[in-house]
């Protein structure tokens, strides 16, 4: 599986996700600087990592959504290339319009840095095939703006089409997200955005290995 991890100024989890991808696939992903006008190769997977791109200026992800390379990512995503956006990557994906809704300030106004429990809502996708439907996972979150918001019609559509990927377990919603949503797919299910960090739950030393099947799913679908 040939993966690209796109690095923006202020990204900070690119090495974490690169390590998780390499452990799962045996192949190190390429770290691509956002200033590149184009992705130099055909990648099986494009990853937008966590962090604080452009210092979260204006809105989280707003600046990165207009970075030169992002135009190409949008184009590729629309043509079916799988794209995974984690945390700030999820925020960028909503700002580009590849995913609906927006990520707002946590309802508590506090930065949430802890483990949360979330449930796999859709296990029939290239991102989640190694999970069981309804499986409960323990994964860390680390964000101040993870409060997923969309209007009721959009939320109904996401639920009706089975496009909610992960949901926080009741009473463990760290940010006030609408309907406890932690991650969603686009309509074609080749784009996934989620706030929790599966890459930081891939080794017993990290306290959980519940994020590992996500990367194993991608490897089995894309290798």
């Amino acid at each position: 599986m040939k993966a690209a991890v796109v690095v923006f100024p202020g990204s900070n989890r690119e090495h974490d996700v690169a390590a998780a991808l390499e452990r799962a696939s045996g192949q190190a992903p390429k770290l691509v600087w956002h200033g590149e006008a184009s992705l130099d190769d055909d990648y099986d997977l494009i990853v937008l990592p966590g962090g604080f791109s452009y210092g979260d200026y204006l809105r989280c992800g707003a600046m990165a959504a207009h970075s030169p390379i992002t135009r190409e990512i949008i184009h590729k995503a629309n043509n079916g290339t799988p794209v995974l956006g984690i945390c700030n990557g999820f925020q960028i994906l909503t700002e580009t319009g590849l995913l609906p809704g927006a990520l707002m300030r946590n309802a508590s106004l506090k930065f949430a840095s802890r483990y949360v429990r979330m449930r796999v809502e859709a296990a029939n996708t290239m991102f989640t095939s190694r999970y069981k439907p309804g499986q409960e996972l323990v994964v860390p979150v680390a964000h101040g703006d993870g409060n997923y918001f969309a209007d009721d019609a959009t939320l109904d559509e996401l639920e009706g089409e089975g496009r909610v990927a992960f949901r926080y377990v009741a009473n463990d919603n760290p940010n006030g997200a609408s309907r406890d949503i932690a991650g969603i797919f686009n309509a074609k299910r080749n784009v996934l955005g989620l706030m929790p960090h599966p890459e930081n739950a891939t080794d017993p030393l990290l306290g959980s290995t519940d994020g590992k099947p996500l990367f194993d799913s991608l490897v089995s679908a894309l290798s």
Partner: protein, 81 residues
């Protein structure tokens, strides 16, 4: 030309920062404060001299970058040339 763009969360979208400011004002003794909403003001100086042109450019700026219209409304005010 100078313009001022005001970006506010749409009514109905929860504004936790505005709420926290309102609570702080209440604690300071401003007991009459009912509701506080917080937004952003962006001032722009640009070359356009035609009002109509300027307004349509500003609207495009808002739609593309300055506001996230999923959660925010914007208002454009042209100040002077």
């Amino acid at each position: 030309m100078k313009a001022r763009v005001t970006v506010m969360l749409k009514s109905g979208v929860l504004d936790p920062q505005g709420k926290a400011i309102g609570q702080a004002l209440n604690r300071l003794g401003f007991s009459g404060v009912a509701d506080v909403r917080q937004g952003k003001i962006i001032e722009i100086e640009f070359a356009e001299t035609d009002q109509t042109q300027a307004r349509s450019q500003l609207a495009e700026m808002c739609e593309k970058l300055l506001a996230n219209t999923v959660i925010e409304n914007y208002a454009i005010e042209i100040k002077s040339s």
